[in-house]
Point group: C2
Chain length 367, copies 2
């Protein structure tokens, strides 16, 4: 577990500077001002986030030659090629140049959309991510994945475009609903379980304070999760191998979300259930009961909303369409033991469907 408030992520196109903590806004400000340095600054946000946290950017706005505010509605509905198209047109019309800057201020939707828009505007302009949800701070904002959704699938269009800056100020997490923080913690737990057992311990130890949104307790946990993700991304920037471990729990999660038409469960909650499912496949391949139980118990403390009634056959069909699938077939991320994940490509469709069946009968049971 690393607790660095300033980290540097090295990627094929340069570096991302990651500033994390209770006073990340203040820490990052001088650097952001220098980065903006009398250029055009595009600020992408939503009405709600702008009202809550827009002021945090005021000093950076002052450093720009001019500021162009870009807005999208709240919610995942903004992540479409059509919205990207509208933003590009506004940016060209506003006279944006290749060395203009963009800041995204918001949750994962704003960051994913903004990163895609920045990455394709005049073949790529620099941008900074200022994530305002726990999920976005520990996951979406770090690692350069950007994208938008099609009716045929989430995140099916996008590119790798790393932000020059990620500023994760944990004070913004205080204004989130508790359920949103719990969902974000599911992603922290995911990384901790496969990549950083000491971080898992820290989450177990301080979970109530974290759920309460204590900015100071959240700071080391967010920094630790970001560090875990950073190391994996540096090892495997294009998700050719090790980075796939970050998809632990995500194959079934995506299937559940798609089947529910992205309603009812938060992404982190779907991932929580996806991990419970992955534990079953992992148990069948030798994962110790004690390790599985430990993760299951921690997930239970996150109190995800109950899993709606679902059909095993339909879920199995959704998993076959997973983005992680290659021409050769589907890849499942499993746990060999605590702190040790593996990508498994030889799980038959029959086993998947049977295991989904058992899982749906009692998600919390562990064979």
């Amino acid at each position: 577990m690393t607790d660095d408030q300033r980290q540097t992520l090295r990627h094929p196109d340069g570096v991302s500077e990651l500033v994390v903590g209770e006073r990340a806004f203040e820490t990052a400000r001088p650097s952001l001002e220098g980065w903006v340095d009398a250029r055009t600054l595009f600020v992408l946000s939503t009405p709600r986030v702008r009202e809550l946290w827009g002021h945090a950017l005021d000093p950076v706005r002052v450093a720009a030659r001019r500021v162009v505010e870009l807005e999208v509605e709240d919610g995942e509905g903004a992540k479409t090629p059509a919205h990207a198209g509208r933003l590009w047109r506004e940016m060209v019309a506003a006279g944006g140049k290749r060395d203009s800057r963009m800041v995204t201020l918001g949750g994962g939707t704003v960051g994913d959309l903004g990163g895609f828009v920045a990455g394709c505007f005049l073949r790529g302009i620099d941008y900074a991510q200022i994530p305002t949800t726990l999920l976005a701070q520990v996951d979406a904002a770090v690692g350069g994945k950007t994208g938008v959704d099609l009716p045929e699938g989430k995140n099916t269009v996008g590119l790798f475009h790393h932000p020059s800056w990620v500023v994760a100020d944990t004070r913004v997490l205080e204004t989130l609903p508790r359920r949103e923080r719990a969902a974000g913690l599911a992603e922290v737990v995911k990384m901790a379980f496969l990549l950083d057992p000491p971080l898992l311990e820290a989450v177990e130890r301080t979970l109530e304070t974290l759920l309460d949104g204590d900015a100071s307790a959240l700071a080391p946990v967010v920094a630790g999760a970001i560090a875990a993700k950073r190391r994996v991304v540096e090892d495997d920037p294009r998700e050719g191998g090790r980075r796939m471990l970050l998809n632990f729990g995500h194959t079934l999660a995506h299937a559940i979300e798609a089947e529910l038409d992205y309603r009812g469960l938060r992404h982190g909650e779907a991932v929580a259930y996806g991990m419970l499912f992955a534990l079953r496949l992992s148990r069948a391949r030798g994962l110790e009961h004690r390790a599985a139980q430990r993760l299951r118990d921690l997930i239970r403390r996150l109190e995800p909303a109950p899993l709606p009634t679902l059909d095993a056959e339909r879920l199995a069909a959704w998993t076959a369409r997973d983005k992680k699938a290659r021409e050769g077939g589907l890849a499942w991320v499993l746990a060999r033991q605590l702190g040790d994940g593996v990508v498994c490509r030889d799980i038959g469709a029959d086993e998947v469907e049977a295991t989904i069946q058992a899982f749906l009968a009692d998600p919390w049971d562990l064979p």
Copy 2:
């Protein structure tokens, strides 16, 4: 001047293999078959090009697990975010995966659009460019620039996504109209003048045969132009410096094209006039009359369509919106001497407009 029929372009994300010549299809085939290797193959083309040259891909189609034909209309109108969106949806619906392959078969429009679509599909799939115009062979297909147009500006949305393969078979140039070949030769002349004087000599010497579309005469010239571009792109993949030299003649060309609403002149013809204009600015900064005259005389032999009546003030206003502009102002590419270009950022708006005025009075005159 290099005359290599097989070249390798090294770029930040890997390499592009460039196969050039009179029998490039046959030379590249075994490699392309191995590259496709039982995967899903998307083939993007237009009805006209598919009819003329689609058969050249038949052996590669056989090597695929299945082939999904994608189609766009002929002409620049296909290069829009909306067309990209439609293609992405077709590709997801067809079950495309991250290791699926795409081949673009067509001119610059198909290559630019296809490269953009490949670059953003599931965050980037491998693709091959099979350019079927001279312009696309010597310019658009090499160097990884991809993109689409907005109503507010050409190529304003895109990314750098290098093809794994570029196959430039000069036999396809035989079926082009002579005027199209002349327009493509304008880009060859552009590169030769600033980057490769021996190539300039070769074009001067063989121009009539080249204009006639002789595949064997075109082979070394296309290979030479591709080599010149390849070296510049390897030096400066993201167009931070030296690669800007490839924009010689392009600032006024883009202004002329925009003012004419992209009608009447071909891109290469606009570039021919743009070079004549750049020669004026270059002359005022010390370019020898003899070198300028030599380029002017060669451009004249390309017989570009006459320049329509244009307004100097309006053209000057268009140049100010050029994509090469940075927050600090506009960059002009000038010639210091034969084989030596320079990027010039300190040319005042008054001089630009006065020079446009003089240029419009007689484009072919050289001060």
